[in-house]
């Protein structure tokens, strides 16, 4: 790291005033960024801050609405990823594009231009991979490799094209700490050889350890450029989360009733290489309160939702209790019959079937709890249409025609329908994942109000959200999930943004780990 000196290094890439509009929404607004040769530059920000958009512009897969790109001092347009690769820009995506049934060498050969000479390529792969501390066996089948090894293939694939700039999107999200250490060594080495790295992450410790400079995005704008060595993790977190979040609204103390949802030492193994393991989740939701789980996307929120809803079953029936009764091994409709309701993150294809009419989508989650919808195995269309009318009226769902297909609705209106479909039942427990994700401000306000009203009526509400503004607006209690571990639940009023930002970056993980160890020792000690 010490080898890098900004003064000596020649500027490699500069983007000036990049703006990218999606309709009225600015994913990037006036973003400027400069990277020199050999520099490891961090791009930091919450989900939706505009990191991916900026990277896609640099890699040529998106064209900016306005703004300029300079490569080695020369102004140019990067028309597509192939053009970017030709310039010497390589990218390692978070989700790999590898064929399981092919070998390492074959996978790399697929990405290389020109004629194929597999033996020669294999020899080169073996040499380059060892040289950079990323050993690979060229003849190994990808299907047999670990996630870390698969990532090496992607990196070596980029290295073979001798890049001048390597873009890495959340590379450690899928790695073990040891694999991550190895990756950092490789990146240092690349940097010493003059290759620049644009490193996207929200893990503050990594960025402090690795990066020479950092650009921090929030809501599509650059909020700060800094040297991470000179910042503390806390100050970085504050920059990332933003100090301009509005005042924490202290609601009149909620009249908390008895526990409606209790989760005890819940652990789940991951489903596949991109799934997060859940570790020792403990959580209580009482009647009358809104508990929010904050966290950056991909830290186990989806997995937690699936096991709480019953789409995936827990290991033990008593891992999850609804109103004191174990439901861990019971399916989603049994939980619905116990007056629980669920709203998943993905509206289309999970919360609703795009090709089905709205009334059929009412049947989707209501057939098990409404005696009117199903009689002797047959669907009573009248009953579901009546429920639809109620939902539409109460939640102001705007649609074309009386009973259109779900996909014809706008995001906000469909979300109002999906949330309204559950609230129409007045459930005593509502679990909702990203309630206002991608929803316009009006619909978001209506949905948040509905959640607050539901809690005011004595129901328990669990909200999983990445939107801190939303969490501070509605939550009574806050917990943070990071790498599948859930922090302790803290009253919303007791938390500062700084603390929550640090927790999102994983500060509670080690503690949690420590506590587990202590607990283990304790249980060993007591006979």
């Amino acid at each position: 790291m010490t080898d890098f000196n900004r003064g000596d290094a020649k500027q490699l890439l500069e983007v000036r005033n990049i703006t990218k509009m999606y309709g009225d929404l600015a994913a990037n607004k006036d973003v400027s960024l400069a990277i020199s040769q050999g520099e490891i530059h961090a791009l930091l920000g919450e989900n939706g801050a505009g990191k991916s958009t900026l990277v896609k512009v640099i890699y040529g897969s998106l064209q900016p609405t306005s703004g300029e790109v300079f490569w080695q001092g020369e102004k140019l347009t990067i028309a597509n990823p192939a053009a970017a690769r030709q310039l010497g820009i390589g990218m390692v995506f978070q989700h790999f594009s590898l064929f399981d049934a092919l070998t390492v060498a074959e996978n790399i050969a697929l990405a290389l231009p020109g004629k194929l000479d597999l033996p020669k390529l294999s020899e080169k792969i073996a040499r380059v991979s060892v040289e950079y501390g990323l050993p690979l066996v060229p003849t190994a089948l990808v299907a047999d490799l670990s996630v870390g090894e698969r990532q090496r293939i992607e990196i070596v694939r980029c290295l073979l094209q001798e890049p001048k700039l390597l873009i890495m999107d959340e590379p450690t999200a899928v790695l073990t700490p040891q694999e991550a250490d190895q990756l950092f060594e490789t990146l240092h080495r690349l940097s010493n050889e003059g290759c620049a790295v644009l490193y996207i992450s929200h893990r503050l410790d990594e960025i402090q350890r690795l990066c020479h400079n950092a650009t921090i995005l929030r809501h599509g704008k650059v909020v700060a450029t800094c040297d991470p060595q000179e910042e503390t993790a806390a100050s970085l977190a504050r920059l990332m989360v933003g100090a301009d979040v509005h005042e924490i609204k202290t609601r009149s103390a909620p009249q908390t009733g008895k526990a409606i949802l209790s989760v005890k030492d819940l652990a789940m193994k991951p489903d596949g290489p991109f799934s997060v393991a859940l570790k020792n989740i403990n959580l209580n939701v009482r009647g009358g309160e809104i508990v929010a789980i904050a966290g950056v996307a991909g830290n186990g929120q989806g997995e937690l939702f699936d096991v709480l809803s019953g789409e995936k079953l827990a290991t033990n029936n008593d891992d999850i209790l609804i109103s004191g009764i174990g439901v861990g091994r019971k399916n989603i409709n049994v939980r619905r019959q116990m007056s629980a309701a669920f709203v998943p993150e993905e509206r289309l294809g999970h919360g609703a079937v795009p090709e089905f009419s709205l009334s059929d989508n009412v049947v989707l989650t209501r057939f098990a709890t409404s005696g009117r919808i199903i009689s002797s195995g047959m669907i009573n269309a009248k009953a579901s249409q009546n429920i639809l009318l109620n939902i539409v009226e109460e939640f102001d769902v705007r649609k074309s025609g009386p009973d259109p297909e779900a996909r014809s609705l706008s995001g906000g209106n469909l979300q109002k329908f999906v949330v309204g479909r559950e609230l129409d039942r007045s459930p005593s427990l509502l679990i909702v994942n990203q309630p206002t994700w991608g929803v316009d401000a009006g619909a978001a306000a209506l949905i948040r109000q509905a959640l607050i009203d539901l809690a005011a009526d004595g129901s328990g509400v669990l909200v999983i959200s990445q939107d801190l503004d939303e969490i501070f607006e509605i939550a009574d209690q806050i917990a943070v999930i990071s790498r599948g571990q859930l922090s302790k639940t803290v009253p919303a009023g007791d938390l500062t943004l700084e603390e929550i930002g640090l927790m999102m970056a994983g500060s509670h993980e080690n503690n949690a780990h420590q506590n587990n160890n202590d607990a283990n020792h304790a249980s060993e000690a007591t006979p």
Binding site: L62, A82, I332, G349, E355, L364, A368, G377, I379, R407
Partner: protein, 359 residues
């Protein structure tokens, strides 16, 4: 100039209906070209192939006899395919149904009562369903692709049937011909009217109507549509993907088995080494041509039955192989799958003067 396929913003409902018609048109056109290439007058040949089979009472009856198993299997496959469970092995399930049902006349030769026939039909369905259960088990337990397993099992069933008919189940008084005993009385399906049409045709129509009702009105039909369409939403509704695989395989297997026993207890009247002229495979085309809609399958089944009769008719009148019927079936499946692309995509002509830019 360059032709490209551009994704439509949404499914074209018009194309979904137009596609089979377009496919039939293209099949007829290319059929005419094939006939012409063989030195035949294409119009005469097409007349012989498509029209002649429906010009006499006798041939219309024969058409119904051929359409019945196609519809019976086709409706089962339509439901299975709607759930995106790809049972390609209906031919094998048909054979196992035929073998299972035939056990009654072979082992209880003298049993004559209406119950005999009921027992045969039920055993036929059980035989087909059990054979469909093998790919279902392999799929749900080991995630083995049901396309491969169900297809390969067709050959297992075929050789088992062949061995039984030539070996242990051969008619002892049959002069060593590879045939079982001839079925008699209540071991045969009653005919409707004087000709060869038997109540298998009635069973096919009943099955189609029942499944049409199931798919449009019941929770089971809702479950199948949703699991095929949006499995994630299906799980959110509390349905199990594994149960759907089991249901689809058992249902389509049972109906194929019923078609099998109806074939041996109907037109054949005994077990022979070859039980079906590929009804189980042709029914795949029937299901797709019928838009996976049980009522549509009835029409598609009749149309595909013509291709069998047309083949025979072409052999007799034009002196070319009856296999021409399979050529037409192949072309029809090819064109219908190709035309179905147009439901989701539209063809666009790009002039080559304007280079395509990335991004």
């Amino acid at each position: 100039m360059k032709l490209i396929l551009e994704k439509r913003p949404e499914r074209s409902k018009k194309m979904a209906l137009l596609s089979p018609i377009l496919a039939i048109g293209l099949t007829v056109l290319f059929g005419a070209i094939i006939f012409a290439a063989r030195g035949l007058n294409p119009l005469t040949a097409l007349y012989v192939f498509f029209i002649e089979p429906v010009t006499t009472i006798w041939s219309i009856e024969e058409l119904i006899v051929k359409a019945a198993p196609l519809i019976l299997i086709g409706v089962g496959l339509a439901v299975s395919f709607e759930a995106k469970v790809w049972n390609i092995g209906a031919e094998g399930q048909l054979i196992m149904g035929a073998l299972a049902g035939s056990m009654i006349p072979i082992f209880f030769t003298g049993w004559q009562s209406p119950l005999t026939l009921v027992a045969m039909l039920v055993l036929g369905m059980i035989g087909g369903a059990l054979f469909g259960a093998i790919p279902a088990f392999l799929k749900t337990r080991f995630n083995a692709n049901e396309i491969l397993t169900s297809l390969m099992l067709v050959y297992v069933a075929g050789y088992l049937g062949d061995w039984l008919v030539r070996g242990p189940w051969r008619d002892p008084n049959g002069y060593n011909f590879p045939k079982s005993v001839s079925f008699e009385g209540w071991q045969l399906l009653p005919t409707i009217g004087e000709g060869r049409v038997h109540i298998g045709a009635l069973l096919a129509v009943i099955a189609a109507l029942a499944l049409a009702f199931m798919m449009s009105k019941t929770l089971k039909g809702f479950e199948i549509k949703i699991m095929g369409n949006a499995p994630r939403a299906g799980m959110f509704a509390g349905f199990s993907p594994k149960k759907t695989v089991w249901f689809a395989m058992l249902l389509s297997g049972a109906l194929a088995g019923l078609a099998g026993i109806s074939e041996v207890a109907g037109p054949s009247g005994q077990l022979q080494p070859v039980i079906s002229p590929g009804y189980g495979f042709t029914a795949i085309i029937v299901a797709f041509l019928g838009r996976l809609n049980p009522i549509g399958v009835i029409f598609a089944g009749v149309l595909l039955a013509i291709s069998y009769l047309g083949g025979e008719s072409a052999q007799m009148t034009l002196g070319i192989s009856a296999r021409i019927g399979q050529v037409f079936q192949g072309m029809l499946l090819f064109f219908i799958l190709a035309c179905d692309t147009l439901i989701l995509y539209r063809v666009k002509l790009l002039s080559s003067t304007k280079p395509a830019t990335g991004g």
